[in-house]
């Protein structure tokens, strides 16, 4: 049952990812990416990471994708990529090179395997465990994250500010 669900969701994730890369219209790509994010959220649920699944849907599929679609609506006058392609030769190499990379990664994973640790504890996905880790072992990265967000905020404002003529 769980294997069947995994197969369906994995196929959905791969299909929507391919749709994102293949479709010429970036708006369709954004919707495909939303589908992919939902599929990954379902996988998080299967991995007992309930808080992350919710955060994925709210933060990624909610906030970030709204920003993307806003930018697409704002920036793309024509829908598709137009004009001559100066790098056509390089782009033809994308599929074989990417395929080779994927093959290497899969081979490495198959060679090394994933070590089975101890049996998962019952409370792993709980927000309590994450919160405790966040404020003990990972306190410094957590604080640095706030500085990163502040820097991104200030940088975005500076970039988007209309220059005085």
């Amino acid at each position: 049952m769980e294997a069947l669900l995994f197969a369906v969701v994995a196929l959905g994730a791969i299909g929507s990812a391919i749709g994102l890369v293949v479709r010429p219209n970036p708006l369709h790509g954004a919707l495909f990416l939303v589908g992919n994010l939902f599929c990954v959220a379902v996988l998080y649920l299967m991995l007992r990471a309930e808080f992350l699944a919710l955060a994925q849907v709210i933060v990624y599929a909610g906030a970030i994708m709204v920003l993307f679609i806003f930018a697409i609506m704002l920036l793309i006058p024509g829908k598709t990529e137009i004009g001559p392609d100066p790098l056509r030769g390089q782009r033809r190499l994308a599929l074989p090179l990417g395929g080779a990379l994927g093959l290497i990664v899969v081979l490495v994973i198959a060679r090394i395997g994933v070590a089975r640790g101890p049996v998962p504890r019952g409370t792993d996905g709980g927000i309590g465990t994450i919160g405790r880790l966040l404020f003990t072992d990972y306190l410094l990265p957590f604080e640095i994250t706030s500085i990163l967000l502040l820097a991104a905020l200030v940088g975005t404002l500076t970039l988007a500010k209309r220059r005085a003529p």
């Binding site: 391919i18 994102l20 992350l52 920036l75 990379l101 994927g102 998962p120 072992d137």
Partner: protein, 100 residues
């Protein structure tokens, strides 16, 4: 229970599709979305390995990755708006001014 190797393989496939998207597409917005796809694939691997080891550390790392992705998208889209204001079209190959 699905073995963690399957999750790792799915993560590798999604990452590869993201790499192909970054190489093959010309629209910077689509390239951004492909980068999000790659980050997401890495997140999936983190969670799967954390679950296999019975530790929640992977999930904490994923929270950090989500934060970095949000900051990256905000700054990147601001850069794109600035470029669009200056040139009225965005195509990654046009932006070769800084290339040696």
């Amino acid at each position: 229970m699905v073995p963690p190797v399957y999750y790792a393989a799915l993560s590798a496939v999604l990452f590869t599709i993201g790499v192909i998207g970054v190489i093959a597409r010309r629209n910077p917005l689509v390239i951004f979305m492909a980068i999000e796809l790659m980050l997401n694939a890495a997140n999936l691997a983190f969670v799967a390995f954390g679950h296999a080891r019975g530790a929640a550390d992977g999930q904490v790392i994923v929270l950090f990755v989500m934060t970095v992705a949000a900051a990256e998208v905000a700054v990147g889209l601001a850069i794109m708006v600035a470029i669009f204001r200056a040139r009225y079209r965005i195509n990654v190959d046009d932006l070769s001014l800084l290339r040696w």
